[in-house]
C-alpha cells in the first residue's frame, strides 16, 4: 500500500511543553487511521501538523512523497485539497446554504456550479429545509453535520477529524460515523485520520490504530493486533481501560 | 464573491454620489468671485454685516464669506493669507499687523460703544461718575469694601483689553485684585452678562450685546449704569478695515478687497452703517476719514465744521485730506 502522507521525526513545542516529540508516521491510501491517547498526549497537535495548520519545529511533513511547509504560499492550496473537521464545530454567521457555499468558494469553485452542488449536499444531509436559516441557530448535531459536509463537499482524498464526537449525543455520533464510512467508501484512495480518546469508536471505525503517549507514538498496528495483541505494556493497560485520563 | 460584489457596488455608488457632490459644490462656487472677510463676532452677531453686505454683493456681483472669530484669530488668518480683508477692533494688534507688512492699508470705519452694566439698583453709584476712569475707581472702592462684584471677560478679547487699559490708567494691577469681588470668567460677552445677572455684578460690555440680551428680557436685573448717552470717548471701540497684503499673498483678491475697503468708507457705505438700527438703537457710528454724517447735510459745510463732525483725531483727518481725495485711507 502506498502512503498518502508521511511524517518524519516531527517535533513541536509550545513554550516549555513538548506537545509532540519525534513522531514518524505514514497514512496509507484507503485506510482509516485512528489516533488514540489520553488528553494532552499531543493528538490534536499532531493532526494540526498533518493538516498543514502548523509547521513542526523539526522534522518533515510529506504529501505524496513531497516535503511541504505549512508556512509556504502553497500551503493554502494543499489544505484546500484536504478536509479538516476540528473538535469544536463553528459556523460562519450566515445562512446554512452560504456556509456550505463558502467552503466551495474558498476552494475556487466556479460560482455557477457552487449552489447546485450545495443544494444537493444539503438535501443529502437532511438540512434542505433549513438552508436559508442562519447556521448559528442549528443544534449541535446539525452543526457538526454541516461542518462535516463543509470538509467533504469537494471530495478530498484526505480527511482529518479531531474528536468530532465530543459534545454529541449517541444518535448524532452514530449518524456521523455512518457519514464517515460513506465517505470512505466513495473511493479506494481516501485516507482518513481519526483522532479520538474513545476506544470503542476506534474499534468501530478504524483499520489501523496508533496510541499516542506524552507526545510520542508508542504503538501503531492493525486494529486486531492493537486491541487483541498489543506490543506495549501501556497499550495493553489502555485497551483494558485501566488508564484513567 | 457575489455578496461582496454587491457590497462593493453599493460603496462605490455612495462614494461617487459624495464625490460628485463635492465637485458640484466646487464648480458651483466658482461662478461668482468670493471675498473672504475675517471679522470679530461683534459685527457679525449684531446683525450689521447681514444688513450692509447684500448691497456690496449686488454692487460688485460677488459673494462675501464672513468668518467671525476672535480679533486675534482674525489677525492670524490675515497674516497667513487665508482671508482677503479684515474688519477688526484691536488698535495695538492692528499696528503690529501693519508694521509686519501684512496689511495694505488700515482705515478707520466706525466705532461702537462700551457701557458699564450692573445691577439696576447701582449699589456702587456708578451713575454719578464723571468719566470711565472715575466709574472704575468706584467699582474698585466698593469691590475691595466687599459691597459689589465685577466680572471680567478674562479672555484677552478686545473688550477685556479695553477693561485692562482702564484699570491700568488708574495705576491698578488686576493681578492683585481679590477674587472675592473681581471674577475673571474667560467667557464670551453674552455668557458674562448672564453671570452678572445671576451674581448682581458689574461688567464692561459692548452696548450691542447688552441691548440684545435686554431686548429678549434675559437680564432683567441689569441696567446700563454708565455711558448710557455714549458720550465717553474712552469707551469707544474703533473698527478698522485692512485689506491683506496681496503682494505677499498673490491669491488674495486685491481688486475685490480694495473695492470693499473703498465701498465701506464711501459715503454710501457709511450711511448704510449709520442707518442700521437694532433694539431701537443705532449701534455703529461710522467715522471713516472724510465722512460727514448725512444728517449734518451734504459736504457743503466749511472744513472746520467737517472736522468737528468727524470722530477722528485732527491729525489723522489732516493726513486723509492731504492724500488724494479718491483714496480714503490712512496708514497709522
Amino acid at each position: 500500500m502506498t502512503a498518502s502522507m508521511e511524517l518524519h521525526g516531527v517535533a513541536k513545542r509550545y513554550k516549555e511543553v513538548a506537545a509532540v516529540r519525534d513522531v514518524s508516521l505514514a497514512v496509507r491510501k484507503g485506510e482509516i487511521l485512528g489516533i488514540l491517547g489520553p488528553s494532552g498526549a499531543g493528538k490534536s497537535t499532531l493532526l494540526r501538523i498533518v493538516g498543514l495548520l502548523e509547521p513542526p519545529d523539526s522534522g518533515t511533513v510529506k504529501l505524496d512523497d513531497r516535503a511541504v511547509d505549512a508556512r509556504s504560499v502553497e500551503a493554502p492550496m494543499l489544505r484546500r485539497k484536504m478536509g479538516i473537521v476540528l473538535q469544536k464545530p463553528v459556523v460562519l454567521n450566515r445562512s446554512v446554504r452560504n456556509n456550505l457555499a463558502y467552503a466551495l468558494r474558498i476552494r475556487g469553485w466556479d460560482e455557477a456550479s457552487i449552489y447546485m452542488r450545495v443544494d444537493e449536499e444539503l438535501k443529502r444531509l437532511g438540512l434542505g429545509d433549513r438552508s436559508n436559516k442562519n447556521a448559528r441557530v442549528l443544534s449541535g448535531g446539525e452543526m457538526q453535520r454541516l461542518c462535516f459536509a463543509r470538509s467533504t463537499i469537494h471530495d478530498p482524498d484526505v480527511l482529518l477529524l479531531d474528536e468530532f464526537a465530543a459534545n454529541l449525543d449517541p444518535a448524532n455520533v452514530s449518524l456521523l460515523e455512518q457519514m464517515i464510512r460513506q465517505f470512505a467508501s466513495r473511493g479506494s484512495s481516501k485516507s482518513i485520520v481519526l483522532v479520538t480518546h474513545n476506544l470503542f469508536q476506534a474499534k468501530r471505525m478504524c483499520d489501523r490504530v496508533a496510541l499516542m503517549w506524552d507526545g510520542e507514538i508508542i504503538e501503531i498496528a492493525a486494529k486486531h493486533k492493537f486491541f487483541e495483541d498489543p506490543g506495549d505494556e501501556r497499550t495493553a493497560a489502555f485497551v483494558r481501560g485501566e488508564l484513567v485520563y | 464573491m457575489m455578496n461582496l460584489g454587491r457590497k462593493t457596488v453599493a460603496v462605490i455608488v455612495c462614494a461617487v454620489v459624495l464625490i460628485v457632490g463635492t465637485m458640484a459644490y466646487v464648480f458651483l462656487r466658482k461662478d461668482t468671485p468670493v471675498l473672504r472677510l475675517a471679522t470679530t463676532t461683534s459685527t457679525y452677531d449684531s446683525g450689521l454685516l447681514d444688513y450692509i453686505l447684500p448691497e456690496f454683493e449686488n454692487l460688485f456681483e460677488c459673494e462675501v464669506d464672513v468668518i467671525a472669530v476672535g480679533s486675534g484669530q482674525a489677525m492670524e488668518m490675515g497674516k497667513r493669507g487665508d482671508v482677503d480683508i479684515l474688519l477688526v477692533h484691536s488698535p495695538s494688534a492692528e499696528l503690529a499687523f501693519m508694521d509686519g507688512g501684512y496689511g495694505e492699508s488700515r482705515t478707520s470705519v466706525m466705532y461702537n460703544n462700551y457701557v458699564l452694566v450692573g445691577p439696576a439698583s447701582d449699589p456702587a453709584g456708578i451713575d454719578a461718575s464723571a468719566n470711565a476712569t472715575d466709574a472704575f475707581q468706584r467699582i474698585h472702592n466698593n469691590g475691595t469694601a466687599g459691597l459689589v462684584q465685577f466680572v471680567s471677560r478674562g479672555d484677552n478679547s478686545g473688550t477685556h483689553n479695553k477693561e485692562l487699559s482702564i484699570w491700568k490708567s488708574l495705576d491698578l494691577n488686576v493681578s492683585y485684585f481679590d477674587d472675592n469681588w473681581y471674577l475673571s470668567a474667560g467667557q464670551g460677552m453674552g455668557a458674562v452678562l448672564d453671570m452678572c445677572e445671576e451674581l448682581d455684578a458689574y461688567t464692561l460690555s459692548d452696548d450691542a450685546t447688552y441691548y440684545q440680551r435686554a431686548s429678549e428680557n434675559l437680564v432683567p436685573n441689569l441696567a446700563i449704569t454708565y455711558n448710557l448717552e455714549k458720550t465717553d470717548a474712552t469707551l469707544r471701540n474703533q473698527y478698522s478695515v485692512i485689506p491683506v497684503n496681496s503682494t505677499m499673498w498673490p491669491h488674495v483678491d486685491h481688486t475685490l478687497a480694495s473695492a470693499f475697503k473703498d465701498w465701506i468708507v464711501s459715503e454710501g457705505g457709511q450711511d448704510l452703517i449709520a442707518s442700521y438700527e437694532r433694539f431701537g438703537q443705532q449701534l455703529f457710528y461710522p467715522n471713516a476719514p472724510g465722512y460727514v454724517p448725512s444728517t449734518a447735510s451734504l459736504g457743503a459745510l466749511p472744513d472746520s465744521l467737517v472736522d468737528s463732525a468727524r470722530s477722528v483725531p485732527k491729525g489723522l483727518a489732516a493726513i486723509a485730506l492731504t492724500t488724494s481725495p479718491g483714496i480714503r485711507c490712512a496708514r497709522w
Binding site: 493554502p76 476540528l86 454567521n93 450566515r94 | 463635492t22 457679525y44 452677531d45 464669506d65 487665508d82
Partner: protein
C-alpha cells in the same frame, strides 16, 4: 435677522450630514483596514501601536482642526489648493478624528472573532487575504458599530468644524457651529431646537446603520 432661519436649517442640516458622512466613510475606509491589519497580523510593537491608537480616542478636536488649518493655510504646505474654509477642509479635519476610533474598535472586533473560526477558515484553505475578509465579515456588527461611533463623534464635533470651516453662512455652517453661534447670541431656545435636529439626524443615521448591522444589507 442673524442666525439660522427655517430655510437655512435644511441647508445646514444637509451640510452636517455631508461633512460627517464623508468623514465617516473616509475614516472608515482607512480605519477598518488599518484596524484589521493591526488586529490580525503579528508584528513587533503591536501592543504599543494598540495603546497609541486607544490613546488617540482622546485626540482633541480643536487640535485636529489646528493641524489641518496649518496644512491648508495659504502659508502652509497645501495652501495653494484653496481648501481652507470649505466643507472639504472640515471633512479632512473630521476624518482625522474618525480614524483612531474606527481603527481601535476594528482591532477589538476582529480580535474578538472566535479563534476557532479563524482556524476553521484556514483549515478550509483560505488564503490570508480570504481569511482576513471572512473574519471582517464575521466582525460585521463591530465594524458597523465602529462607523456609528465615528459618525457620532463628528456630527457632534464643533471645535475643528469652526476652525477650518469658519462657520460661513450657506457654505460651511453646520449644525454644531450654528448651535454655538446661537448660544453665543443668547438664543438658547433656538440653540436647543438645533440640538434636537442634530439628535434627530443622528438617530436617523443610526437607525439606518442598525439596519445594516442586523440585516447585513451591505
Amino acid at each position: 435677522m442673524v442666525g439660522t432661519t427655517g430655510l437655512d436649517l435644511i441647508e445646514v442640516t444637509l451640510l452636517s450630514l455631508y461633512v460627517s458622512g464623508m468623514a465617516t466613510i473616509l475614516g472608515s475606509a482607512i480605519g477598518i483596514p488599518l484596524g484589521a491589519l493591526i488586529g490580525l497580523k503579528e508584528f513587533g510593537g503591536k501592543g504599543a501601536v494598540k495603546t497609541v491608537t486607544y490613546t488617540l480616542y482622546g485626540f482633541p478636536p480643536v487640535l485636529s482642526g489646528l493641524f489641518v488649518y496649518y496644512l491648508f493655510s495659504r502659508a502652509g504646505p497645501f495652501g495653494s489648493l484653496g481648501v481652507l474654509f470649505t466643507p472639504t477642509a472640515m471633512i479632512i479635519a473630521e476624518t482625522f478624528l474618525v480614524i483612531p476610533l474606527v481603527t481601535g474598535i476594528t482591532i477589538t472586533s476582529v480580535v474578538e472573532v472566535d479563534k476557532n473560526i479563524k482556524d476553521t477558515v484556514r483549515a478550509m484553505g483560505a488564503s490570508s487575504r480570504q481569511s482576513t475578509l471572512t473574519i471582517m465579515r464575521e466582525a460585521w456588527v463591530g465594524l458597523v458599530m465602529a462607523c456609528m461611533i465615528g459618525f457620532g463623534r463628528v456630527i457632534a464635533e464643533v471645535g475643528a468644524a469652526y476652525l477650518v470651516g469658519g462657520n460661513i453662512d450657506g457654505k460651511t455652517k453646520v449644525l454644531t457651529t450654528a448651535i454655538m453661534l446661537e448660544t453665543r447670541m443668547g438664543h438658547f431656545e433656538w440653540a436647543m431646537a438645533l440640538g434636537a435636529v442634530l439628535l434627530f439626524v443622528a438617530l436617523a443615521v443610526f437607525f439606518f446603520l442598525r439596519l445594516l448591522q442586523e440585516k447585513e444589507l451591505l
